[in-house]
Amino acid sequence: MCAGIERPRSDLFICEGTATAAVLDEGVVDGVEQLNAHFEALLAAGEQIEPRDWMPDGYRRMLVRQVSQHAHSEIIGMQPEGSWLTRAPSLHRKASLLAKVQDEAGHGLYLYSAAETLGVSRADLLDALHSGHQRYAATFNHPALTWADTGAIAWLTDGAAVVNQAPLCHTSYGPYARAMRRVCQEEAFHVRQGYDVLWSLCQGTPEQKEMAQDAVNRWWLPAVALMFGPPDTVAGGADDRTAAMGAAVSQRSMAWGIKRHTNDELRQRFVDNVVPQAERMGVTLPDPAIRWNEERGHYDFSPIDWQLFRGALGDGSQCARQRLAHRVAAHEDGAWVREAVDAYAAQLADGELESVELDDEGRRVS
Protein backbone atom coordinates (compact mmCIF):
# COMPACT_ATOMS: atom_id res chain seq x y z
CA MET A 1 0.00 0.00 0.00
CA CYS A 2 1.28 3.36 -0.96
CA ALA A 3 0.81 5.42 2.15
CA GLY A 4 -0.72 8.86 1.81
CA ILE A 5 0.03 11.46 4.42
CA GLU A 6 -3.25 10.97 6.19
CA ARG A 7 -3.61 7.26 5.55
CA PRO A 8 -2.70 4.84 8.29
CA ARG A 9 -0.05 2.18 7.95
CA SER A 10 -2.28 -0.62 9.12
CA ASP A 11 -5.31 -1.97 7.37
CA LEU A 12 -8.40 -2.20 9.41
CA PHE A 13 -11.50 -4.09 8.59
CA ILE A 14 -14.84 -3.34 10.17
CA CYS A 15 -16.95 -6.38 10.89
CA GLU A 16 -20.57 -5.97 11.76
CA GLY A 17 -20.75 -4.96 15.37
CA THR A 18 -17.67 -6.93 16.31
CA ALA A 19 -14.21 -5.86 17.24
CA THR A 20 -12.04 -4.48 14.50
CA ALA A 21 -8.67 -6.04 13.93
CA ALA A 22 -5.57 -4.13 13.06
CA VAL A 23 -3.04 -5.97 10.96
CA LEU A 24 0.38 -4.74 11.88
CA ASP A 25 3.36 -4.80 9.60
CA GLU A 26 5.64 -7.72 10.20
CA GLY A 27 8.44 -6.97 12.58
CA VAL A 28 6.43 -4.37 14.41
CA VAL A 29 4.65 -6.92 16.58
CA ASP A 30 7.82 -7.62 18.58
CA GLY A 31 7.99 -4.08 19.77
CA VAL A 32 4.35 -3.61 20.75
CA GLU A 33 5.22 -2.87 24.35
CA GLN A 34 7.78 -0.35 23.29
CA LEU A 35 5.31 1.19 20.85
CA ASN A 36 2.68 1.38 23.54
CA ALA A 37 5.12 3.11 25.87
CA HIS A 38 5.86 5.64 23.16
CA PHE A 39 2.12 6.13 22.57
CA GLU A 40 1.44 6.67 26.27
CA ALA A 41 4.37 9.07 26.53
CA LEU A 42 2.96 11.18 23.70
CA LEU A 43 -0.41 11.36 25.46
CA ALA A 44 1.21 12.16 28.80
CA ALA A 45 3.10 15.02 27.17
CA GLY A 46 -0.18 16.38 25.78
CA GLU A 47 0.93 15.65 22.22
CA GLN A 48 -1.56 14.50 19.62
CA ILE A 49 -1.66 11.15 17.89
CA GLU A 50 -1.50 11.28 14.10
CA PRO A 51 -2.77 8.73 11.55
CA ARG A 52 0.55 7.08 10.82
CA ASP A 53 1.48 6.71 14.49
CA TRP A 54 1.15 3.33 16.13
CA MET A 55 -1.89 3.18 18.41
CA PRO A 56 -3.49 0.44 20.53
CA ASP A 57 -6.43 -1.39 18.95
CA GLY A 58 -8.73 -0.25 21.73
CA TYR A 59 -7.90 3.40 21.07
CA ARG A 60 -8.50 2.97 17.36
CA ARG A 61 -11.78 1.14 17.97
CA MET A 62 -13.03 3.75 20.41
CA LEU A 63 -12.22 6.50 17.95
CA VAL A 64 -13.77 4.74 14.96
CA ARG A 65 -16.89 4.25 17.01
CA GLN A 66 -17.06 7.80 18.31
CA VAL A 67 -16.07 9.61 15.11
CA SER A 68 -18.38 7.57 12.89
CA GLN A 69 -21.29 7.89 15.30
CA HIS A 70 -20.62 11.60 15.36
CA ALA A 71 -20.56 11.72 11.53
CA HIS A 72 -23.79 9.74 11.27
CA SER A 73 -25.44 12.12 13.76
CA GLU A 74 -24.55 15.11 11.61
CA ILE A 75 -25.99 13.41 8.52
CA ILE A 76 -29.22 12.25 10.18
CA GLY A 77 -29.35 15.60 12.00
CA MET A 78 -30.14 17.34 8.71
CA GLN A 79 -33.59 15.76 8.62
CA PRO A 80 -35.64 17.44 11.38
CA GLU A 81 -34.81 20.97 10.22
CA GLY A 82 -34.54 19.95 6.57
CA SER A 83 -38.23 19.17 6.60
CA TRP A 84 -38.94 22.91 7.14
CA LEU A 85 -36.81 24.22 4.28
CA THR A 86 -39.74 24.47 1.86
CA ARG A 87 -41.96 26.06 4.49
CA ALA A 88 -39.66 28.68 6.02
CA PRO A 89 -41.63 31.86 6.76
CA SER A 90 -39.37 34.20 4.75
CA LEU A 91 -36.62 34.14 2.16
CA HIS A 92 -34.12 35.26 4.81
CA ARG A 93 -35.07 32.40 7.15
CA LYS A 94 -34.98 29.96 4.27
CA ALA A 95 -31.48 31.07 3.24
CA SER A 96 -30.10 30.75 6.76
CA LEU A 97 -31.78 27.40 7.37
CA LEU A 98 -30.43 26.11 4.06
CA ALA A 99 -26.93 27.24 5.04
CA LYS A 100 -27.32 25.59 8.43
CA VAL A 101 -28.49 22.26 6.99
CA GLN A 102 -25.68 22.37 4.40
CA ASP A 103 -23.23 22.87 7.25
CA GLU A 104 -24.52 19.69 8.91
CA ALA A 105 -23.80 17.75 5.71
CA GLY A 106 -20.36 19.33 5.69
CA HIS A 107 -19.73 18.36 9.30
CA GLY A 108 -20.63 14.78 8.48
CA LEU A 109 -18.13 14.81 5.62
CA TYR A 110 -15.32 16.37 7.72
CA LEU A 111 -15.89 13.58 10.21
CA TYR A 112 -16.05 10.74 7.66
CA SER A 113 -12.79 12.11 6.28
CA ALA A 114 -11.29 11.99 9.80
CA ALA A 115 -12.64 8.45 10.35
CA GLU A 116 -11.01 7.28 7.12
CA THR A 117 -7.61 8.19 8.51
CA LEU A 118 -8.21 5.39 11.03
CA GLY A 119 -8.30 2.86 8.21
CA VAL A 120 -12.03 2.39 7.69
CA SER A 121 -13.82 3.05 4.43
CA ARG A 122 -16.62 5.54 4.09
CA ALA A 123 -18.73 3.02 2.19
CA ASP A 124 -18.46 0.56 5.09
CA LEU A 125 -19.40 3.24 7.60
CA LEU A 126 -22.47 4.20 5.58
CA ASP A 127 -23.43 0.53 5.28
CA ALA A 128 -23.14 0.22 9.06
CA LEU A 129 -25.42 3.25 9.51
CA HIS A 130 -27.96 1.96 7.00
CA SER A 131 -28.05 -1.53 8.48
CA GLY A 132 -28.37 -0.19 12.03
CA HIS A 133 -25.03 -1.62 13.17
CA GLN A 134 -23.77 1.84 14.01
CA ARG A 135 -25.82 4.42 15.84
CA TYR A 136 -26.46 8.13 15.57
CA ALA A 137 -27.59 10.58 18.26
CA ALA A 138 -31.11 9.59 19.33
CA THR A 139 -31.87 13.29 19.75
CA PHE A 140 -32.81 13.37 16.08
CA ASN A 141 -35.37 10.61 16.45
CA HIS A 142 -37.81 13.30 17.53
CA PRO A 143 -40.03 15.04 14.99
CA ALA A 144 -39.88 18.78 14.19
CA LEU A 145 -43.57 19.54 14.48
CA THR A 146 -43.65 23.32 13.96
CA TRP A 147 -41.47 26.07 12.53
CA ALA A 148 -40.43 26.94 16.09
CA ASP A 149 -38.80 23.51 16.33
CA THR A 150 -36.11 24.64 13.89
CA GLY A 151 -35.23 27.39 16.36
CA ALA A 152 -35.36 25.13 19.40
CA ILE A 153 -33.24 22.44 17.72
CA ALA A 154 -30.53 24.90 16.73
CA TRP A 155 -30.54 26.77 20.04
CA LEU A 156 -30.71 23.73 22.34
CA THR A 157 -29.22 20.74 20.53
CA ASP A 158 -26.58 22.72 18.65
CA GLY A 159 -25.95 24.68 21.83
CA ALA A 160 -25.39 21.37 23.61
CA ALA A 161 -23.19 20.19 20.74
CA VAL A 162 -20.97 23.25 21.08
CA VAL A 163 -20.43 22.50 24.77
CA ASN A 164 -19.53 18.91 23.88
CA GLN A 165 -17.38 19.81 20.93
CA ALA A 166 -15.34 22.72 22.25
CA PRO A 167 -13.15 20.36 24.36
CA LEU A 168 -12.96 17.94 21.40
CA CYS A 169 -11.00 20.62 19.52
CA HIS A 170 -8.14 19.41 21.76
CA THR A 171 -8.92 15.71 21.66
CA SER A 172 -5.86 13.46 21.43
CA TYR A 173 -6.40 12.29 17.85
CA GLY A 174 -5.15 14.97 15.44
CA PRO A 175 -7.55 14.57 12.49
CA TYR A 176 -10.58 14.46 14.82
CA ALA A 177 -9.41 17.59 16.65
CA ARG A 178 -8.86 19.44 13.37
CA ALA A 179 -12.31 18.45 12.09
CA MET A 180 -13.85 19.64 15.35
CA ARG A 181 -12.18 23.03 15.06
CA ARG A 182 -13.87 23.59 11.70
CA VAL A 183 -17.17 22.30 13.09
CA CYS A 184 -17.06 24.54 16.17
CA GLN A 185 -16.49 27.69 14.12
CA GLU A 186 -19.66 26.90 12.20
CA GLU A 187 -21.78 25.78 15.14
CA ALA A 188 -21.63 29.26 16.64
CA PHE A 189 -23.73 30.47 13.68
CA HIS A 190 -26.19 27.61 14.17
CA VAL A 191 -26.87 28.43 17.80
CA ARG A 192 -27.27 32.15 17.16
CA GLN A 193 -29.67 31.70 14.26
CA GLY A 194 -31.77 29.27 16.29
CA TYR A 195 -31.95 31.71 19.20
CA ASP A 196 -32.85 34.43 16.69
CA VAL A 197 -35.78 32.37 15.34
CA LEU A 198 -37.17 31.77 18.84
CA TRP A 199 -36.50 35.35 19.92
CA SER A 200 -38.55 36.69 17.00
CA LEU A 201 -41.42 34.33 17.81
CA CYS A 202 -41.31 35.48 21.44
CA GLN A 203 -41.66 39.09 20.26
CA GLY A 204 -44.69 38.14 18.17
CA THR A 205 -48.33 37.28 18.84
CA PRO A 206 -49.35 35.19 21.87
CA GLU A 207 -49.81 32.23 19.51
CA GLN A 208 -46.29 32.61 18.19
CA LYS A 209 -44.86 32.87 21.67
CA GLU A 210 -46.80 29.77 22.63
CA MET A 211 -45.37 27.97 19.61
CA ALA A 212 -41.84 28.86 20.77
CA GLN A 213 -42.57 27.64 24.30
CA ASP A 214 -44.08 24.40 23.01
CA ALA A 215 -40.99 23.67 20.91
CA VAL A 216 -38.68 24.39 23.85
CA ASN A 217 -40.77 22.07 26.02
CA ARG A 218 -40.32 19.21 23.55
CA TRP A 219 -36.60 19.74 22.74
CA TRP A 220 -35.32 20.39 26.27
CA LEU A 221 -35.03 16.77 27.33
CA PRO A 222 -33.54 15.46 24.05
CA ALA A 223 -30.89 18.19 24.39
CA VAL A 224 -30.07 17.99 28.09
CA ALA A 225 -30.25 14.19 28.32
CA LEU A 226 -29.28 12.71 24.98
CA MET A 227 -26.70 15.18 23.68
CA PHE A 228 -24.43 14.49 26.67
CA GLY A 229 -24.88 10.77 27.03
CA PRO A 230 -25.91 8.84 30.13
CA PRO A 231 -25.10 10.04 33.64
CA ASP A 232 -21.56 9.17 34.69
CA THR A 233 -20.99 10.81 38.08
CA VAL A 234 -22.71 10.83 41.45
CA ALA A 235 -22.46 14.61 41.33
CA GLY A 236 -24.73 14.52 38.27
CA GLY A 237 -27.44 13.01 40.45
CA ALA A 238 -26.96 9.37 39.49
CA ASP A 239 -26.82 6.67 42.13
CA ASP A 240 -23.50 4.90 42.75
CA ARG A 241 -24.19 1.98 40.44
CA THR A 242 -25.41 4.11 37.56
CA ALA A 243 -22.50 6.48 37.94
CA ALA A 244 -20.05 3.58 37.94
CA MET A 245 -21.51 2.17 34.72
CA GLY A 246 -21.22 5.48 32.92
CA ALA A 247 -17.87 6.27 34.49
CA ALA A 248 -16.17 3.10 33.23
CA VAL A 249 -16.56 4.21 29.62
CA SER A 250 -15.88 7.88 30.34
CA GLN A 251 -12.70 7.15 32.26
CA ARG A 252 -11.19 4.94 29.56
CA SER A 253 -11.95 7.65 27.04
CA MET A 254 -10.49 10.34 29.30
CA ALA A 255 -7.35 8.33 30.02
CA TRP A 256 -6.72 8.25 26.29
CA GLY A 257 -7.43 11.96 26.02
CA ILE A 258 -10.36 11.40 23.65
CA LYS A 259 -12.83 12.93 26.06
CA ARG A 260 -11.75 15.70 28.38
CA HIS A 261 -14.73 15.98 30.72
CA THR A 262 -17.43 13.73 32.15
CA ASN A 263 -20.89 13.79 30.61
CA ASP A 264 -22.28 15.39 33.76
CA GLU A 265 -19.69 18.19 33.84
CA LEU A 266 -20.58 19.15 30.29
CA ARG A 267 -24.31 18.85 31.01
CA GLN A 268 -23.91 21.30 33.89
CA ARG A 269 -21.98 23.70 31.67
CA PHE A 270 -24.82 23.58 29.12
CA VAL A 271 -27.50 24.26 31.73
CA ASP A 272 -25.47 27.20 33.07
CA ASN A 273 -25.29 28.61 29.53
CA VAL A 274 -28.94 28.33 28.54
CA VAL A 275 -30.86 29.24 31.69
CA PRO A 276 -30.00 32.98 31.44
CA GLN A 277 -30.64 32.87 27.67
CA ALA A 278 -34.09 31.41 28.25
CA GLU A 279 -34.82 34.10 30.83
CA ARG A 280 -33.81 36.89 28.46
CA MET A 281 -35.95 35.43 25.71
CA GLY A 282 -38.92 34.90 28.00
CA VAL A 283 -39.40 31.15 27.64
CA THR A 284 -39.54 28.72 30.53
CA LEU A 285 -37.34 25.65 30.52
CA PRO A 286 -39.58 22.67 31.39
CA ASP A 287 -37.77 21.65 34.56
CA PRO A 288 -39.22 23.01 37.84
CA ALA A 289 -36.00 22.10 39.67
CA ILE A 290 -33.95 24.70 37.83
CA ARG A 291 -32.71 27.34 40.24
CA TRP A 292 -29.46 29.16 40.93
CA ASN A 293 -27.35 27.49 43.62
CA GLU A 294 -25.25 30.18 45.24
CA GLU A 295 -23.12 27.66 47.09
CA ARG A 296 -22.12 25.63 44.03
CA GLY A 297 -22.05 28.60 41.68
CA HIS A 298 -24.14 26.60 39.21
CA TYR A 299 -27.77 26.12 38.32
CA ASP A 300 -29.43 23.09 39.90
CA PHE A 301 -31.62 20.96 37.63
CA SER A 302 -33.38 17.60 37.77
CA PRO A 303 -30.87 14.76 37.67
CA ILE A 304 -30.79 12.81 34.44
CA ASP A 305 -31.21 9.27 35.68
CA TRP A 306 -31.24 6.18 33.49
CA GLN A 307 -35.02 5.97 33.47
CA LEU A 308 -35.32 9.51 32.19
CA PHE A 309 -32.52 8.89 29.72
CA ARG A 310 -34.13 5.74 28.31
CA GLY A 311 -37.49 7.46 28.12
CA ALA A 312 -35.97 10.21 26.00
CA LEU A 313 -34.35 7.78 23.56
CA GLY A 314 -37.42 7.13 21.46
CA ASP A 315 -35.93 3.84 20.30
CA GLY A 316 -38.02 1.92 17.84
CA SER A 317 -40.39 4.85 17.43
CA GLN A 318 -42.08 5.57 14.13
CA CYS A 319 -39.90 8.68 13.80
CA ALA A 320 -36.70 6.68 14.31
CA ARG A 321 -37.73 4.28 11.56
CA GLN A 322 -38.54 7.16 9.24
CA ARG A 323 -35.16 8.83 9.81
CA LEU A 324 -33.24 5.72 8.80
CA ALA A 325 -35.58 4.84 5.93
CA HIS A 326 -35.19 8.37 4.57
CA ARG A 327 -31.40 8.11 4.70
CA VAL A 328 -31.37 4.71 2.99
CA ALA A 329 -33.72 5.97 0.28
CA ALA A 330 -31.52 9.02 -0.34
CA HIS A 331 -28.51 6.73 -0.69
CA GLU A 332 -30.29 4.34 -3.04
CA ASP A 333 -31.74 7.17 -5.12
CA GLY A 334 -28.19 8.39 -5.64
CA ALA A 335 -26.93 5.05 -6.94
CA TRP A 336 -27.30 6.08 -10.58
CA VAL A 337 -25.03 9.07 -9.98
CA ARG A 338 -22.30 6.87 -8.53
CA GLU A 339 -22.70 4.42 -11.42
CA ALA A 340 -22.45 7.21 -13.98
CA VAL A 341 -19.32 8.56 -12.33
CA ASP A 342 -17.79 5.10 -12.28
CA ALA A 343 -18.58 4.57 -15.95
CA TYR A 344 -17.00 7.92 -16.77
CA ALA A 345 -13.93 7.18 -14.68
CA ALA A 346 -13.56 3.73 -16.26
CA GLN A 347 -13.67 5.20 -19.75
CA LEU A 348 -11.19 7.86 -18.76
CA ALA A 349 -8.84 5.22 -17.39
CA ASP A 350 -9.16 3.09 -20.52
CA GLY A 351 -8.40 6.09 -22.71
CA GLU A 352 -11.79 5.94 -24.42
CA LEU A 353 -12.49 9.53 -23.55
CA GLU A 354 -10.25 12.30 -24.69
CA SER A 355 -10.38 15.58 -22.92
CA VAL A 356 -12.23 18.11 -25.01
CA GLU A 357 -10.86 21.61 -25.30
CA LEU A 358 -13.35 24.36 -25.92
CA ASP A 359 -12.70 27.89 -27.11
CA ASP A 360 -14.20 31.02 -25.54
CA GLU A 361 -17.46 30.53 -27.39
CA GLY A 362 -17.80 26.91 -26.44
CA ARG A 363 -16.73 25.49 -29.80
CA ARG A 364 -14.58 22.43 -29.86
CA VAL A 365 -10.93 23.18 -30.62
CA SER A 366 -9.06 20.86 -33.04
Binding site: C2, I5, D53, D103, E116, R178, D342, L348
Partner: protein
Protein backbone atom coordinates in the same frame (compact mmCIF):
# COMPACT_ATOMS: atom_id res chain seq x y z
CA UNK B 1 -17.75 -3.78 -3.65
CA UNK B 2 -16.64 -4.08 -7.26
CA UNK B 3 -13.46 -2.54 -8.49
CA UNK B 4 -15.39 -0.19 -10.71
CA UNK B 5 -17.49 1.29 -7.99
CA UNK B 6 -14.31 1.91 -6.04
CA UNK B 7 -13.34 4.56 -8.58
CA UNK B 8 -15.90 7.02 -7.32
CA UNK B 9 -14.37 6.61 -3.87
CA UNK B 10 -10.83 7.54 -4.81
CA UNK B 11 -9.61 9.70 -1.93
CA UNK B 12 -7.93 13.04 -2.55
CA UNK B 13 -6.16 15.17 0.02
CA UNK B 14 -7.28 18.79 0.08
CA UNK B 15 -5.05 21.80 0.68
CA UNK B 16 -6.33 25.34 0.91
CA UNK B 17 -4.67 28.73 1.03
CA UNK B 18 -6.85 30.61 3.47
CA UNK B 19 -5.42 34.05 2.66
CA UNK B 20 -2.94 35.56 0.25
CA UNK B 21 0.58 35.31 1.57
CA UNK B 22 0.04 32.00 3.39
CA UNK B 23 1.09 28.53 2.32
CA UNK B 24 -1.49 25.93 1.33
CA UNK B 25 -2.52 23.94 4.35
CA UNK B 26 -3.87 20.40 4.53
CA UNK B 27 -7.50 20.46 5.69
CA UNK B 28 -8.85 16.96 5.07
CA UNK B 29 -9.93 14.78 2.19
CA UNK B 30 -12.72 14.24 -0.31
CA UNK B 31 -13.68 11.53 -2.76
CA UNK B 32 -13.81 11.96 -6.52
CA UNK B 33 -13.38 10.03 -9.74
CA UNK B 34 -11.05 12.63 -11.22
CA UNK B 35 -9.33 15.88 -10.34
CA UNK B 36 -12.21 18.09 -11.49
CA UNK B 37 -14.68 16.22 -9.36
CA UNK B 38 -12.34 16.26 -6.38
CA UNK B 39 -11.87 20.02 -6.81
CA UNK B 40 -15.62 20.60 -7.00
CA UNK B 41 -16.19 18.48 -3.90
CA UNK B 42 -13.37 20.26 -2.06
CA UNK B 43 -14.87 23.63 -2.97
CA UNK B 44 -18.30 22.55 -1.71
CA UNK B 45 -16.95 21.11 1.51
CA UNK B 46 -14.07 23.31 2.60
CA UNK B 47 -14.85 26.75 1.18
CA UNK B 48 -18.47 27.39 2.13
CA UNK B 49 -17.61 30.72 3.70
CA UNK B 50 -15.57 32.30 0.96
CA UNK B 51 -12.36 33.11 2.78
CA UNK B 52 -10.31 30.71 0.68
CA UNK B 53 -8.27 31.99 -2.25
CA UNK B 54 -6.89 28.71 -3.63
CA UNK B 55 -7.53 24.97 -3.45
CA UNK B 56 -5.23 22.08 -4.31
CA UNK B 57 -6.26 18.43 -4.49
CA UNK B 58 -3.74 15.59 -4.61
CA UNK B 59 -4.58 11.91 -4.95
CA UNK B 60 -3.98 10.42 -1.51
CA UNK B 61 -1.86 7.61 -2.91
CA UNK B 62 0.44 10.15 -4.57
CA UNK B 63 1.61 11.54 -1.26
CA UNK B 64 4.67 9.84 0.17
CA UNK B 65 5.47 10.43 3.79
CA UNK B 66 7.98 9.88 6.54
CA UNK B 67 7.21 10.34 10.23
CA UNK B 68 9.86 10.76 12.91
CA UNK B 69 8.57 7.93 15.06
CA UNK B 70 8.59 5.51 12.14
CA UNK B 71 11.91 6.24 10.57
CA UNK B 72 14.05 7.64 13.29
CA UNK B 73 17.34 7.61 11.40
CA UNK B 74 15.67 9.52 8.60
CA UNK B 75 15.47 12.63 10.77
CA UNK B 76 18.54 12.00 12.93
CA UNK B 77 20.46 14.41 10.81
CA UNK B 78 18.81 17.26 12.66
CA UNK B 79 19.38 15.95 16.17
CA UNK B 80 21.98 17.28 18.60
CA UNK B 81 22.95 20.29 16.57
CA UNK B 82 22.57 23.22 18.95
CA UNK B 83 24.94 25.23 16.79
CA UNK B 84 22.16 25.59 14.23
CA UNK B 85 20.27 27.93 16.60
CA UNK B 86 20.99 31.59 17.38
CA UNK B 87 20.72 30.94 21.15
CA UNK B 88 23.91 28.90 20.92
CA UNK B 89 25.93 32.08 20.45
CA UNK B 90 26.86 35.17 22.49
CA UNK B 91 24.02 37.72 22.53
CA UNK B 92 24.66 40.74 20.35
CA UNK B 93 23.48 43.43 22.76
CA UNK B 94 24.59 42.38 26.24
CA UNK B 95 27.86 43.02 28.06
CA UNK B 96 28.43 39.39 28.80
CA UNK B 97 25.98 36.58 28.81
CA UNK B 98 27.07 33.39 27.27
CA UNK B 99 25.35 31.01 29.60
CA UNK B 100 25.84 27.82 27.78
Amino acid sequence: MSERSARVLTPWEVFIRPRRGLAHQHVGSVHGADADMALANARDLYTRRGETVSVWVVRSDSVHAASPSEKDPFFSNAAHKPYRYPEHYIPLNEESGHDG
